[in-house]
């Protein structure tokens, strides 16, 4: 008991509390340098002096909405597909899940290669402008991050959904099909309502994953061009280690935490309410 509490207190709780203190100072990150208490100035600055945080917030929010919808749709579709009985279904599960194991950094670099080299080659071969200059502007950077995320996370969501699909008793499905339910009716009236617990989890995981995304962002676009694809986590990192404004970055981190927690809790409450008791 004691060692767990000890390391947890030292590594998470104390820094957390010190963090609240730092957020009200102008600390530059150098140990032993002077720091001054500046009150709420850092929090005011987030919304006035430096518009990069607000930009990153907008980008992250838009990105998360798209990513959450796509990841869960694709994940659910994959889960429905591989739970059908056909040859190779088990092997496919492995294939769809595999990208998830590879670290975000490696994924980012891999896709950088695809977008920059492969897409350029395709553009040259086919003459299609749409494949040219990927990651060089905000739009393709955004779509690039989105493709990477869907590729990485939908296999994870698939596993979550498979577990739930397997809990739906065959008898319920059989009864519905005897009563003459069509495939669509079955999906809408039987499967989806019984899947709600899995959606609660799937949404929660994908929201928190996309909101906190860092490695992929760093490796794929580095937030560029000109910070246009910088997400919140990278923005905080850059203002701490790029601009040496630790106090300011810490204030951003606290705002970040409040946003993440608020969204997470709201979502849990809303979807929990819609779950059907079996």
């Amino acid at each position: 008991m004691t060692p767990a509490l000890f390391s947890f207190t030292l590594i998470v709780l104390i820094p957390m509390l010190i963090g609240f203190f730092y957020a009200f100072t102008d600390w530059n990150g150098i140990v032993g340098s002077d720091m001054e208490f500046v009150g709420f100035q850092n929090f005011v600055d987030i919304f006035t002096r430096d518009d990069s945080f607000l930009h990153a917030l907008g980008f992250t929010a838009l990105f998360s909405v798209c990513a959450v919808v796509l990841v869960n749709l694709v994940g659910f579709f994959l889960a429905m597909l591989v739970t059908q009985k056909f040859r190779g279904a088990t092997l496919l599960r492995g294939v769809f899940f595999m990208p998830n194991l590879i670290g975000g950094l490696l994924l980012g670099f891999t896709w950088q290669f695809i977008f920059v080299s492969i897409f350029e080659a395709v553009s040259k071969a086919t003459g299609l402008k749409i494949f040219s200059g990927w990651l060089a502007d905000p739009q393709t950077g955004f779509i690039g991050l989105l493709i990477l995320t869907v590729w990485q996370l939908s296999g994870y969501m698939m596993i979550v959904y498979i577990a739930q699909i397997q809990q739906i008793p065959e008898s319920v499905k059989e009864a519905a099909s005897i009563d003459g339910a069509s495939g669509w009716q079955m999906l809408k009236s039987i499967i989806l309502p019984l899947m709600m617990p899995a959606f609660t989890i799937g949404l929660f995981l994908s929201i928190s994953n996309s909101f906190k995304m860092f490695d992929q962002n760093l490796a794929l676009t580095q937030g560029g061009p000109y910070k246009s694809t910088e997400m919140l986590a990278l923005n905080i990192y850059n203002s701490a280690f790029g601009a040496n404004e630790f106090g300011f970055a810490q204030a951003k981190a606290i705002v970040f935490m409040i946003i993440v927690a608020a969204i997470g809790v709201t979502q849990l409450v809303i979807t929990k309410r819609r779950e059907v008791e079996m």
Partner: protein
């Protein structure tokens, strides 16, 4: 009528398989393209990035070169040692803590448990800066310090998962052992741990995947030559060899291979880990 039904059933199976194969190919495409280009020289990648390597562009040089540039053996060992030790310690301290929290129910134990559970919502960025300042002040910017930090960050999730599992183990067995004069430590290691085998493996797998792939924390704490883990070295490598995709593609493949091997061995537990972890 019956025959027609049979027929459409088979047709549907074929359709599923076709859709599955197409999607499978899309999912595997990035890896396939990396493997392909890891056997080409720079000219080969520049002139024809999609085709197979031919006599003029085929090379086996990339792998040994990338192996050297990544200092693969050393980085791999650094990653391995840190991952194994940190995971083992997380399991040990969290399992003990969770057991105590379940078996000795008091107001304090409930508060402590809630504290652990709630802390899972704290994003890393929120703790990152004070932690770095604090670590450099007390001089733990080294692998030992890093392992200790993983212990701090890893316990919350592990305790929550162990807690859920131990709750469902009947206490009678332990009570009987206590009556027979078994002390707490022996009770824990001889009776409780064997019962927890499945959840221990599951939590271990989840932690291994997280620590092995982690970039940000090690980059802040142990980013010095000699200590670098595989993800750190990969990042540096990309800084050094920007646009050298011959080396980069083979380097990436070499970093991905250990993960794939790990997956093949632990597939069952990984899937179980995700399912259990998600339900909690």
């Amino acid at each position: 009528m019956e025959e027609k039904k049979q027929h459409s059933k088979r047709g549907r199976k074929v359709a599923y398989a076709v859709v599955g194969i197409v999607l499978g190919c899309i999912f595997l495409f990035p890896i396939y393209i990396l493997v392909l280009n890891s056997f080409k020289n720079t000219k080969g990648i520049f002139t024809d990035v999609i085709g197979f390597p031919n006599a003029a562009t085929f090379t086996m040089e990339n792998y040994p070169n990338a192996f050297e540039a990544l200092e693969y053996v050393r980085s791999f060992m650094n990653s391995l040692i840190i991952t194994v030790i940190a995971t083992a310690l997380i399991l040990l301290i969290s399992a003990m803590a969770a057991w105590v929290l379940v078996r000795y129910k008091t107001k304090t134990s409930k508060v402590i448990f809630l504290l652990f559970a709630a802390s899972m919502l704290i994003p890393f960025q929120c703790v990152m800066l004070p932690l770095v300042g604090f670590a450099s002040r007390i001089g733990i910017m080294n692998p030992t310090g890093l392992v200790f930090m993983y212990m701090g960050f890893g316990t919350s999730m592990a305790i929550v998962m162990f807690h859920g599992f131990i709750k469902n183990i009947p206490a009678e067995l332990e009570e009987a052992a206590t009556i027979d004069g078994c002390g707490s430590f022996r009770l824990f290691f001889l009776i409780v741990v064997p019962l927890m085998k499945t959840i221990l493996v599951t939590v271990a797998v989840l932690n291994v995947m997280w620590i092995w792939n982690d970039y940000l924390l090690p980059s802040l704490i142990i980013n010095k030559p000699g200590w670098q883990t595989l993800p750190l070295k990969t990042y540096l490598f990309f800084g050094q060899f920007a646009k050298r995709w011959d080396l980069a593609s083979s380097g990436l493949i070499m970093c991905i291979i250990p993960i794939i091997i790990f997956y093949l061995f632990c597939q069952k537990y990984i899937v179980k880990g995700i399912t259990d972890g998600a339900i909690k």
